[in-house]
């Protein structure tokens, strides 16, 4: 693990401000090929943005965190933040593929040398899509330790039974990271032990013990529910040690929080840009609506909230890349950024009046998309509970 950390850090030194600036410029140019009309059409059909994801993959941006020795660019989270923020700031939606960037972190940190050699190069090139992550279950929800899907050792294989919900991109993934219980809760040595992480090969699993059913939602998100019925996976699918899965998942959470926060910052800036432009141009009562303080002030507030949240995102990313513990900062970044983007979304639709509701303006689509981030990947209350318990030292509330 220390080796993996050093390896990640060694690469990170290379992402100076000029490289980050160049990354932003390039992602902007890429996004220009996918204008609002593209996202609207995909949204209306609830269709996966395949072409966009392919362009990002081909340009290497989804392999940004994979170390160079496995074919990626070995850059840090701060560079990945730039990619995702730009996508969202330019009207796109990185949720279709952001997980390809960071789910592999679990293999990188906890996988065996053989597992890394086997999987990481394909993930880096995009030949293998690892962008599904099955944690949430219908019965346990936010209470991850209460999950009921079981994996039972059977010779040189594991048999998996149970159910997952909200497993996003499962239909667009070759591999899936799965959290399942390997030791019954009452027999586990400690409260947090007994869960294990598996890398499931979807190409072999679907139709042979695994059923994937899409869930239609208020946004275009390719999310699904999964049913496991005696799915048999080889013992090599286990990542790290049996029983330590919950710890491994927590290790990956900080990167995820920071990257989702970056998407929120991008959204917030998109809303602020659009609203400012509209407020300048829309003339009612013989004056631009932006001349009224009733329009200006919510805009200025949303802007300030966004800039403040962005500072926290930058700080969390810098700490992560320096190898410092950053649970507190990563969680606050996600909390503040998801609230800033929602504040900006609300302001933007209000500024646009009736036109904010017309699909053609993209505001209503982005409004629906950015609302998700206060619920998934982690609900705001759970972040607050974390801060209260682990930072402020208050009694555990759940």
């Amino acid at each position: 693990m220390a080796a993996a950390k050093d390896q990640e850090r060694a690469g990170r030194a290379q992402a100076g401000p000029d490289v980050i600036e160049e990354i932003r410029r390039s992602v902007r140019a890429l996004c220009a090929n996918f204008p609002g009309a593209y996202w609207r059409e995909r949204d209306r059909a609830r269709a996966y943005p395949t072409e966009f994801v392919k362009a990002l993959t081909d340009a290497g941006f989804l392999a940004i965190l994979v170390p160079e020795e496995f074919g990626g660019s070995g850059l840090g989270v701060a560079a990945a933040v730039a990619v995702l923020e730009e996508i969202h700031r330019n009207g796109g939606n990185g949720a279709a593929c952001h997980a390809q960037m960071y789910i592999m972190g679990t293999i990188l940190r906890h996988g065996s040398a053989a597992q890394k050699r086997r999987w990481l190069p394909g993930i880096a090139s995009g030949a293998l899509r690892l962008q599904a992550f099955a944690v949430t279950e219908p019965e346990s929800g936010t209470d991850t330790l209460g999950l009921r899907t079981t994996a039972v050792r059977d010779g040189d294989r594991y048999l998996i039974n149970g159910q997952k919900v909200w497993t996003s991109r499962a239909e667009h993934s070759d591999l899936m990271l799965l959290l399942a219980r390997t030791t019954p809760r009452e027999e586990a040595a400690t409260r947090t032990e007994g869960l294990s992480v598996f890398l499931v090969d979807m190409r072999e699993a679907v139709g042979r013990g695994l059923t994937v059913r899409p869930i239609r939602t208020m946004l275009n998100h390719a999310t699904t529910e999964l049913f496991f019925d005696d799915l048999s996976v080889p013992a090599e699918a286990l990542i790290g040690e049996e029983g330590k899965g919950f710890r491994y998942i927590l290790d990956g959470m900080n990167a995820e929080r920071i990257l989702i926060a970056a998407e929120c910052i991008g959204d917030a800036r998109w809303f602020v840009d659009r609203a400012t432009e509209y407020a300048r141009e829309r003339v009612v009562f013989d004056r631009p609506i932006g001349q009224n303080q009733g329009i200006q002030f919510p805009l200025a507030r949303a802007y300030a909230a966004t800039e403040a949240a962005d500072l926290m995102v930058a700080r969390a990313a810098a700490m992560f890349d320096a190898g410092e513990p950053c649970g507190k900062e990563a969680n606050m970044a996600k909390l503040l950024a998801s609230e800033a983007s929602w504040q900006a979304a609300d302001m933007c639709i209000q500024t646009h009046g009736g036109y904010g509701f017309a699909e053609e303006y993209d505001v209503e689509r982005k409004f629906r998309e950015t609302r998700l981030y206060q619920v998934a990947p982690v609900s705001t209350n759970l972040i607050l509970a974390y801060l209260a318990e682990h930072v402020l030292g208050l009694p555990r509330s759940y």
């Binding site: 600036e21 990354i23 992602v27 890429l30 660019s73």
Partner: protein
């Protein structure tokens, strides 16, 4: 095959331009980018290199302020092999002839070149002059504002749009081209390209500027657009609208 592409750092077309002292643009707060037409030139240069294979190289050259390093890095990230920054703090205020003189001298020293590409104009001063002038100094034919290019058997065949027609031109190599929108779809840098660019050579050369032959005597923002005129309402307004378009605006 040695390919040379000339590029320029210019204000973004979306930038709000303010005049500083009646003579110059105030660069404060302005975003600068690679000249959009130069993107077509870079893309074409890279495609020719890729088509030629082997040891073909693309060199990018600019005359500009030290900050123009940034635009050269972008070109290196797109795939050029090396870059040369000719720098002088007053470079932005040269006329096309003096600029061409400096560029041509440096290009000559580093030549000979097989193919030379320019954007058809820089969107800051819009002079359209540097490409043809450098080509003349290098003793090369120059096919300007091209939207299609074919290179075979030691000659270049290019097409360009002229008023109401399409013109096809031919010239022997080595040849220079100025590139127009439509020629190709410029690529964006890949992440690998961005990382590789940091290890590519970028040479900075301080240059002396020859005296400009054209002097800017005044730079002023365009007068505010006169407000629109409402000629009437509904179908009844049509005759007056047609008359105004024909006789006043002279667009019909």
């Amino acid at each position: 095959m040695k390919i040379l592409v000339f590029v320029k750092r210019v204000p973004a077309t979306t930038a709000r331009i303010r005049v500083a002292d009646g003579l110059r643009m105030d660069p404060e707060g302005v975003e600068f980018v690679l000249n959009p037409y130069d993107e077509f030139a870079v893309e074409e240069a890279l495609r020719r290199k890729e088509a030629a294979g082997g040891d073909a190289t693309v060199t990018a050259i600019t005359l500009g302020p030290p900050e123009a390093q940034k635009e050269l890095r972008t070109v290196l990230a797109m795939g050029a092999d090396e870059a040369i920054l000719l720098t002088h703090s007053d470079a932005a205020f040269l006329d096309a002839e003096a600029t061409a003189q400096v560029l041509a001298e440096q290009a000559e020293q580093r030549g000979p070149w097989d193919l030379v590409f320019f954007g058809k104009q820089a969107v800051d001063r819009d002079q359209h002059g540097v490409g043809p002038s450098v080509a003349t100094r290098l003793g090369m034919p120059c096919l300007s504002e091209i939207v299609e290019l074919e290179i075979a058997d030691g000659k270049a065949t290019a097409r360009r749009e002229v008023e109401g027609a399409s013109e096809t031109l031919e010239a022997p190599l080595p040849c220079a081209f100025t590139c127009q929108k439509g020629l190709n779809e410029p690529r964006y840098a890949s992440l690998k390209g961005i990382m590789a660019a940091k290890r590519k050579p970028l040479e900075t050369v301080q240059v002396d500027l020859p005296p400009a032959k054209v002097e800017v005597v005044e730079l002023a923002p365009p007068p505010p657009r006169p407000p629109g005129r409402i000629v009437g309402e509904g179908a009844a307004a049509v005759p007056e609208l047609v008359r105004a378009l024909r006789e006043e605006a002279k667009v019909l």
